[in-house]
Every structure is written in structure tokens, then in C-alpha cells.
Amino acid sequence: MQDPRLRLLSVAVLSLAAFASTVGAAAALVWWLLFTPRTKSLPRPGVLLPLVAIVAATALVSAWGGGAGLSYFFRMTVILLLAAWAYAGTEDGEVLTVAVWALGNRVGFEVGLIAEMGIGGLSVIRREVEQVRVAMALKGIRPGLRTIVPLAVTLIVMEIRRADETARLLVVRGYTSGGKICPRFRTDPLDVPAGMAAIIPAILSALPLSDVFILVG
């Protein structure tokens, strides 16, 4: 999907649908299979599997406590797939452009800039985790429970420091508030049908399951 406006809107609607009900999640999964590059948009297993493992652990705890663990696991996994697709397709500056298009040069620019910094931070964190992994290998440290806390502290401190540096840089460059950009978007012929199809899971997730069967039947 080329148009970032439709991509962001689709991922928001589909994520809500997947979170709201299992039917919504199933429909969102079908949408993901039809309109995305599927497995090509997924991060490498080293990144994806730990996230799935966290979801699975939470689902297990939920099931153990009498909750809908399996449903939770399914819904959250679909949300993860959608998030991975949206993240893989996002290019630098897109969120800022969309925010300015939607909310204007003052509020939109502020919101978009914060969102861009957040997304940029994600890729930086990924790089830093990789650096820490290399550093641990060089020092002969085996990953384990004992090493997680100091590593997490180190990564958090690095992120806080980076945010501080970015803020100082913006001040040095004379930034006070708002900005001016002219949003331009490319749209693929398939973008609009895909965007419209994203509404279907949202509708399905809002309907009671019995009504769906009546509709289908």
C-alpha cells in the first residue's frame, strides 16, 4: 500500500477490529493475507518470536485464570502481523506528512514530529539491541536473567539521552513550535479497494456472532 494515509487508517481500523473480537481478528487476518506482502513484511524471527512469546505467555496466564487465553493470543498475534506490515512499509517523514495533512502545520506538525521521533527511536533501539548483543558476545556474556536488568537500564538511559540530545538540537536549530511542509502522496490503484476492504473486519467485529451467521446464512 503506497498511500500512507490509507495505510495508517487501515492499520488503525484493522487493529481495533482484531482487538474487539475473534471474528474481527479472523477477518483482519484474511485482509492481511489478501492485501499485504504477508511474510515478506515480517521482521526476522529473532525480533518477531520474542514478541509472540510475550503474547503467548500473557495468554497462558489469562487462560490459567479462566480468561479467553486462546482468543487473546489469536487477536494479539493478528495485531502484531498488522503492526509489522505497517512498520515495514513506513518511510521516513511519512507520519509527519500525514499528520500535517490531517491536522495542519501547527498541531499536525507537532504531533507528526513526535510520532516521527518515536518511530525513529524504534529503529535506533533495534540497532542498539544488536550492538549490545555484539558487545555481550565479545565479552563472553551469555544472555540470561542476570544480564537483562543492567542491559535494560543501559538501553533506557541511552534512549533518554538521545531524546535529550534531539531536543537540544531542535533548540539550537531555532525550533519553537509548528512548521511548514506541503504533503504529497502517491497512491497505488489497489490502495483504495484495500482501504475500503479494511472496513469489513471492523463491521464484523462490531456485530454479534449470531447475527453474522444469520447474515451469511
Binding site: 549490545v132 555484539v134 558487545a135 555481550m136 565479552k139 544480564t147 543492567p150 537500564v153 538511559v157
Partner: protein, 232 residues
């Protein structure tokens, strides 16, 4: 003890690296301009990158230590003492060598880059591995610290030490010179015979050679002594 590069190749984007040769015991200098592939070669030798073709074979090398170019990439602990301990060392020893004993409880990121470099360099040296790979070990250091680092390196009397550096002012005594040029590793040979063919030789060595002097090694003091010999 030796490390062999067998028709090694590695590619990433438009950059490609190739090299063959044997690193024996002693101190090797791999010089070359920024972006020529020195860091990539260091990562290949450390086994952190896989070659596209060819092989890196270690003979008799039981332990390997790579010092990364950017010292902050080594940090895994929230305190300076903890950072030294994370290398498997007694923190006091490392902090003493790095002259950072008073900063033991500080955040490593509150050190200047030069101080952090001193710490990581001290830790790498104290581990005393069979194969010591130092990627730009003199970057961010002041002249006094560079000289001290050179002295410590020269005291290492066993194992293979490979220094990857574009430093052209303060260098340690070395046994062999290699050069990286646009991704190609070239062996210049043993010192002092290799010095005249060293294309990235520091200006003081080039001057000494132009004057007809034959320095014994690559340090400024070697060039000075060689000049004194011919001038009487």
C-alpha cells in the same frame, strides 16, 4: 599461532572486500583511509561477520578479543566499575590502567569518549587474548594517552595483535604492515623492509625516507633516530 585469510571476500551494498594472507605472532598494523574496509576486516577476523567466500582459519588461537571502533558500542552496564566487571576483570585493575579509579560509580555514558575509549582499551588489553584485534584504538585519545597505549601494546610479548588504524602521528612499534585500499588488503611485509612501500606512511616517515634515512620502525622516534644517524 597464526590466522590465515584464504581468498576472503565480503560484500555489502556497493562495498566489497577481498584479502588473503597470514597474520603470525607479533604486532600487525593494518592502515588505510577511512572507509577502506578496516573495520569490516576486523569484524570478519573476529567472526562477527561471515565471509561471502573464502575463509578465516585460526591456528592455535584459543581466545579472541575485538575492540570496537566506537567505545560506546561496548557498554552493557550502568556503572564504570560494572562495565569493567562485565569484561570478566577485577574492576580496580582495569580502572587503574584506564586512570578512572575515581569514576567507578559513574554512568559510563557520563565519561568523555576519550575516557570511555581508555576504559575499553584497558579492558581489552587486560584480557590478554591470543588474538587481539584493535579497531582504531587511538581514535578519541589525546597524545599522551596514545603514547601510553602504544607502550602497553609494545609490552605485549605473545599472541597476535592486529591494529586497524588510520592514525598517522603516534604509532606503536610493529612487526608487519598491511594496507587496505578500496576494500583490498595488501601485505607490505615485515618492518623495516616494508616501510618504503607503505603508501599511507606518516609524513615524518616519508620525510625521513626522502632524506635517505632508513628508520628501524614506524614511530616518530625511529624516524628521528634514522635522520640523526645519517646526519651524524
Amino acid at each position: 599461532m597464526r590466522v590465515e585469510l584464504l581468498d576472503l571476500t565480503f560484500s555489502r551494498g556497493s562495498f566489497s572486500l577481498r584479502g588473503s594472507g597470514t597474520f603470525g605472532e607479533g604486532v600487525h598494523l593494518v592502515s588505510g583511509p577511512v572507509g577502506s574496509g578496516k573495520s569490516t576486516l576486523a569484524l570478519l577476523l573476529a567472526g562477527l561477520l561471515r565471509p561471502g567466500s573464502g575463509d578465516v582459519r585460526r591456528h592455535g588461537v584459543l581466545t579472541t578479543q575485538l575492540l570496537l571502533q566506537f567505545p560506546e558500542h561496548h557498554v552493557t552496564s550502568p556503572t564504570v566499575a560494572g562495565e569493567a566487571a562485565s569484561w570478566g576483570l577485577i574492576p580496580d585493575d582495569a580502572l587503574r590502567l584506564a586512570e578512572l579509579s575515581a569514576r567507578a560509580d559513574d554512568d559510563p555514558f557520563h565519561l568523555s569518549r576519550g575516557e570511555l575509549k581508555r576504559l575499553t582499551l584497558a579492558c581489552a588489553l587486560l584480557r590478554d587474548p591470543d588474538l587481539l584485534l584493535l579497531d582504531e584504538p587511538f581514535a578519541s585519545l589525546d597524545c599522551v594517552t596514545k603514547k601510553k597505549a602504544c607502550a602497553v601494546l609494545e609490552e605485549r610479548d605473545s599472541g597476535i595483535t592486529i591494529v586497524f588504524s588510520h592514525e598517522r602521528a603516534i604509532l606503536p612499534r610493529v612487526d608487519t604492515i598491511w594496507e587496505m585500499e578500496e576494500g583490498a588488503l595488501a601485505a607490505r611485509g615485515s618492518v623495516p623492509d616494508a616501510i618504503p612501500s607503505w603508501r599511507h606512511a606518516p609524513s615524518y616517515l616519508r620525510y625521513a625516507l626522502d632524506q635517505g634515512a632508513r628508520p628501524e620502525n614506524i614511530r616518530l622516534s625511529d624516524a628521528r633516530e634514522a635522520l640523526c644517524r645519517i646526519r651524524g
